[in-house]
Amino acid sequence: MRNAFVQSLGILAKRDKKLILLTGDLGYTVFEDFKSKFPKQFLNVGVAEANMMGVACGFALTGFTPIVYSIATFVTMRGFEQIRNDICLHYANVKIIGTGGGLSYGHAGATHHSLEDIAIMRSLPNIIIVCPSDRNQVKAAFVEILKHKGPVYFRLGKKGEPDIYTPTSPFTIGKGIILKRGADLTLIATGNMVYNGLQAARILSQKGVDTGIIDMHTVKPLDEDVIIKVAKATKAIFTLEEHSIVGGLGTAVSEVLSEKGKEKIYFKRLGINDTFIETVGNQEYLRHIYGLSIETIVRRILKDFTKYA
């Protein structure tokens, strides 16, 4: 996803000279090419995220479109109040790019695990949150978020995510994509969990549990219509995200279901429970241990099967 982002950034920066990349000293081996091709559109602000957000606000209010880049935890947390006051309050046209969403930085440890970023960004007015699921969606979504003139949080994975879409797959901010329909249950997944969700849905369907899946790439504004619609056509909804179950996609979907959904539906959030990761391991390993690998997702869903079937 990261490479796809850098590629589309290069294409779009060539067309729009007001696009400027600000990085908090991250992007070694990633931005060298961009920097040499567009030296006037690249600015390494240094390891100072709070200042970077303020600078981005100043750029945006004087006609630039700043693209602010760092690891998801740092970019959303170090300068949170600056994002709130300087960017969201002023409706500054700043795109905040968080790389390494979820457990992408597995071995790096808890400081690098981005498990609360969606929750805290979601609490802010005026911001749009997009979590693309593969490289093709990164490119399609990036074009759309640049068309939107306001604050966006764009949560990337890292690299090597399997393809789900083709380069021509359509993308609309705020419109969930129904990848598969299911009468027994529907998974609503976001970002780098969509692929695992899709595979789990196929396996579950083969096992006789008719499982659907929605790619909810935009967590804010949430596509309430698709949630309400699908809730009528399925017996259970499971949300799936590489993020804490507190405050993220699962919470957002539960808000819609509890206020606007039908009365009886089985609902469960799959994500990282309210905990820091204490195990050492790479992303795949941690997903397995914490129940977010394809196999463990299938197992967790089947375990509850009797409750909703």
Binding site: N51, G54, V55, G58, F64, Q82
Partner: protein
């Protein structure tokens, strides 16, 4: 020939407005507002390239009141300079009012909503580097409090502005040596303040922040700074203009009683 403006009289009027709107709305920050009156008068009536009839003019100088709690002083100045009618001042901090305790960017003449400390230089630096990249001539002026030097972001932005040679960025530091809950010396020592900023690569100037002629000549000197951002340490007095409010921390939050209000008004006159 145009009659020269009576800046002293404007400063007096601003102090009276600050006192009155604070008294009427029972909101504090009088002391912090009084210490920046002369600075604002010089900026808005002698230095900034602005046009109240075209507040969004692209090439205007940008001013950011980083110490947002001194908003009453800014409101009074903007009203006298013609950005909005003076009658709007009576709606300061009232229910269904127009003006909040801290500046809001939706008010004509206000660039940035502030109130949380330490944000001003970062935003100003972003505007200043943007101006340089686009070869625009506007200048960016940030007015900050001394206590904002407690904030880490201030020093992040200080590094950034000097690294990028933002000579079009001018910071005025209101050094009244008193913060919300004590003197600077008691709470968190800033001295040696000028050498700190100099060590961060800034063009550092010092001035009596209540002398308008000196303020003007000092701020004009910043134009000679070829490749450094400038900071002017303005030595000021918290509560300046009303003897019983001067130098004390009380008037950060306090609001005058009726007798105090009239006594203060009389002294300003």
């Amino acid at each position: 020939m145009k009659k020269p403006l009576d800046l002293e009289n404007i400063a007096k009027t601003i102090r009276k407005i600050i006192l009155t709107i604070s008294y009427e709305s029972k909101v504090g920050h009088i002391g912090s507002s009084f210490s920046i009156v002369e600075i604002l008068v010089i900026l808005y009536f002698s230095f900034l390239r602005i046009n109240p009839r075209k507040p969004k003019w692209h090439d205007r100088d940008r001013f950011i009141l980083s110490k947002g709690h001194a908003a009453p002083a800014l409101y009074a100045t903007l009203a006298l300079r013609g950005f909005f009618p003076q009658r709007n001042l009576s709606k300061y901090c009232k229910d269904k009012g127009l003006l909040e305790e801290h500046p809001k960017h939706t008010v004509l003449g206000i660039e940035i909503s502030t109130g949380s400390l330490g944000h001003g230089i970062s935003i100003g630096a972003g505007m200043a580097i943007s101006a340089k990249l686009r070869k625009k001539n506007f200048r960016v002026v940030v007015l900050m409090s001394d206590a904002e030097c407690d904030e880490g972001e201030t020093w992040e932005s200080a590094l950034f502005a000097s690294h990028h040679h933002l000579q079009n960025l001018i910071v005025l530091l209101d050094y009244n040596k008193v913060q919300a809950f004590g003197s600077i010396e008691e709470v968190l020592q800033l001295e040696p303040l000028t050498s700190k900023w100099r060590a961060f690569g800034w063009n550092v100037l010092e001035v009596d922040g209540h002398s308008m002629p000196k303020l003007l000549s000092t701020i004009k000197k910043t134009a000679a700074s070829a490749n450094k951002p400038s900071i002017i340490i303005c030595h000021t007095v918290r509560g300046k203009g009303v003897t019983f409010m001067e130098h004390t921390i009380d008037w950060h939050y306090l609001n005058p009683k009726k007798e105090q209000y009239y006594a203060a008004l009389e002294e300003i006159d």
